[in-house]
């Protein structure tokens, strides 16, 4: 376990480093003079000079790369080109709504998807299974914004049960009703993929030798399902849970835009549209590090659950 954990953590560090270098490389990839490209449609010499000075574009690329990595370690991400605020401040202000969304999605995701998968597997071939299977296949890659808009028009406008956006809400936690529709949209895709995998794993586990043996030994069915079959059925799903964090981050970007939630996703889209590269770089690093960390955690958990099948790369 320790050797595997050390090797896997090493790979994680390399990935984090690569994400940081890639974010840095964004500036280098800009066509032509970066300062001119960033200054916008009406290049004003003063603005170009200001950008060049603020991003230290007159220094060689390697020096700037070392500065950028050093800044990351100490938490200094530079300053926004638009507002001049430190990027770390912008991230700090936008972090809370995104964290609320992501954490509550993950908290709801596991019980719901595992419950659906187990329920479908236990009623295999009958109508609950067919219903769950069709729904999970169909909604697998539905665009979140389209789903969100449809839900808003039905539940917020047609029926007027729920607020349509989070405009004017001081904190997401203060108004839990605001969270209902965004969470439903965020959960749709991950639930589908994980429930399918749990269902497939459960069907395989329930048909296995050891479950037949446990049943013959007279163990109660509930215990057979949850204590014996489920842990083995979860191993393939663990990797997918990590993959859904990828979707979740993408979903957060879209959902925050639809429901006007001032989180990291909104900040990222605004920064991309304004070509505010320091902010884009900072958010990219935060998202990239999160993804790498979650993948690392999932691989370690999967290894712990079933050490025999090393999640090799």
């Amino acid at each position: 376990m320790l050797a595997y954990a050390a090797r896997r953590t090493g790979l994680g560090f390399v990935q984090v480093l690569a994400v940081a270098v890639l974010a840095f490389a964004l500036v280098e990839l800009l066509p032509g003079d970066a300062a001119v490209a960033l200054a916008g449609d009406q290049p004003d010499p003063a603005a170009i000079e200001r950008i060049r000075e603020r991003m230290h574009l007159d220094q060689p690329a390697l020096v700037r790369l070392a500065d950028w990595i050093g800044g990351l370690v100490t938490g200094d991400l530079g300053a926004s080109l638009v507002s001049g605020r430190p990027v770390a401040d912008i991230l700090g202000a936008a972090l809370q709504p995104t964290l609320v969304l992501a954490v509550s999605t993950l908290v709801l995701l596991l019980p719901l998807s595992i419950g659906l998968g187990v329920a479908a597997a236990r009623r295999r071939g009958r109508w609950p299974d067919r219903l769950i299977t069709t729904a999970t296949v169909g909604l697998y890659s539905v665009p979140e914004f389209a789903l969100a808009v449809l839900l808003v028009s039905v539940f917020a406008i047609g029926l007027a049960w729920l607020p349509p956006t989070a405009v004017g809400v001081p904190s997401l936690l203060a108004e839990p009703l605001v969270l209902v529709l965004p969470l439903a949209v965020l959960l749709a895709r991950p639930i589908c993929s994980i429930a399918r995998l749990v269902r497939a794993g459960m069907i395989e586990a329930l048909g296995s030798e050891y479950v037949a043996h446990v049943r013959r030994a007279g163990v109660a069915e509930r215990r057979v399902v949850f204590a014996h079959a489920l842990p083995n059925a979860l191993t393939p799903a663990t990797a997918q849970i990590a993959r859904t964090v990828d979707w979740l981050l993408g979903g957060v970007i879209v959902v925050e835009s639809v429901f006007v939630i001032p989180g990291l996703g909104t900040a990222l889209v605004d920064a991309v549209n304004a070509r505010d590269l320091p902010v884009v770089q900072g958010i990219a690093v935060v998202f990239g590090v999160t993804t790498v960390a979650v993948n690392l955690l999932a691989d370690l958990v999967a290894f712990r659950l079933a050490p025999r099948m090393e999640v090799a790369r």
Partner: protein, 318 residues
């Protein structure tokens, strides 16, 4: 054979309905799988796939008709829509609730015009991006699997590991933040985002083929590399084609999300996703301007998912 017993048989053991084909199947498996013991051991314990195929094949048309109906409307609108004449010639107020159904959009034009013209771009962009990703990813995965030099494999595949560490929508936003906004750029970006997955699947499928005895024999006979590559490429084509549907739906998702967020495509672009974005402000006054394009996108995505899943499970069953 009368209808009654054949149906009963089909429910129980669909593959054993014809003894000759079952026999053939068994011998073929015995050839391809030397460890037939393990196979025989697990086979009776897993009636899952057989029963499911029985259910799927017994009422064959009901599912399919529903799926096709779901797909016909959005695909038809996307492909035929641009050739239909404009409906409302004169523009009225934006988000006019009194205008003939389905109301007007943010510029005061009829929503129907946008619906007719807006599907084409998304469908074509997604299809072009998928095609481009395969044109690049297929040779890369094939070369990585077919080569006997490990370092070539590493050089070709390692960069994709790093790309996969970045969320796909984030990667797309990053690329869009520095690329000039044109329709072709969106195709390029979506293709690049899909590239790692495609190269990996091609490589995995090709590795399996490359280890076959037939390949060993071809190496020993001194066949040219080109010949070997063509053999592998032809062998993995069914596997790769089965995966292509999933990639197309994924590309469709990315294109729609990018259009909605206003990145990639130029500001003059107008498709269903852009319609949802620009008409959001008037959702209380003229909801159809948002609901219609969103519903079309959802129907297209759900329909494609169900269709490709059906094709996949058919393939797995046969």
């Amino acid at each position: 054979m009368t209808a009654e017993p054949s149906q009963a048989e089909a429910r129980g053991h669909p593959t054993d309905g014809e003894p000759s084909s079952a026999e053939k199947r068994r011998t073929r498996r015995a050839h391809s799988k030397p460890g037939a013991l393990g196979f025989r051991h697990t086979r009776p314990r897993d009636p899952g796939p057989t029963r499911r195929t029985a259910r799927r094949t017994a009422p064959p048309s009901a599912d399919l008709i529903a799926i096709l109906a779901l797909l016909t409307v959005p695909l038809g609108l996307a492909l035929v829509g641009p050739f239909l004449p404009d409906v409302g010639g004169d523009r009225t107020r934006p988000f006019d609730a009194d205008a003939p159904w389905p109301g007007t959009d943010h510029l005061g034009a009829s929503v129907l015009d946008g619906i007719f013209d807006g599907g084409w771009g998304i469908v074509v962009t997604a299809a072009a991006a998928t095609l481009l990703a395969y044109l690049v990813g297929f040779p890369i995965g094939l070369a990585a699997a077919a080569t006997r030099h490990r370092w070539i494999d590493e050089i070709l595949m390692r960069p994709f590991d790093l790309l996969l560490a970045i969320p796909s929508l984030l990667l797309m936003l990053l690329l869009a933040s520095i690329a000039p906004p044109t329709a072709w750029m969106l195709v390029l970006i979506v293709a690049l985002v899909n590239l790692p997955d495609i190269a990996r699947i091609v490589r995995a499928a090709a590795l399996e083929v490359a280890r076959r005895p037939a390949m060993e024999a071809m190496w020993l006979q001194g066949e040219s590399k080109w010949h070997n590559g063509v053999y592998i490429g032809r062998s993995i084509l069914p596997t790769v084609a089965a995966d292509a549907g999933v990639r197309l739906v994924g590309a469709f998702y990315l294109v729609a999300a990018a259009s909605f967020l206003g990145v990639g495509a130029g500001p003059e672009a107008s498709d269903w996703a852009v319609m949802v974005d620009v008409n959001r402000g008037g959702i209380f006054l003229s909801p159809w301007g948002v609901v219609l394009p969103a519903a079309l996108l959802v129907a297209l995505s759900v329909g494609l998912n169900l269709l490709f899943d059906r094709l996949l499970s058919r393939r797995a069953a046969s």
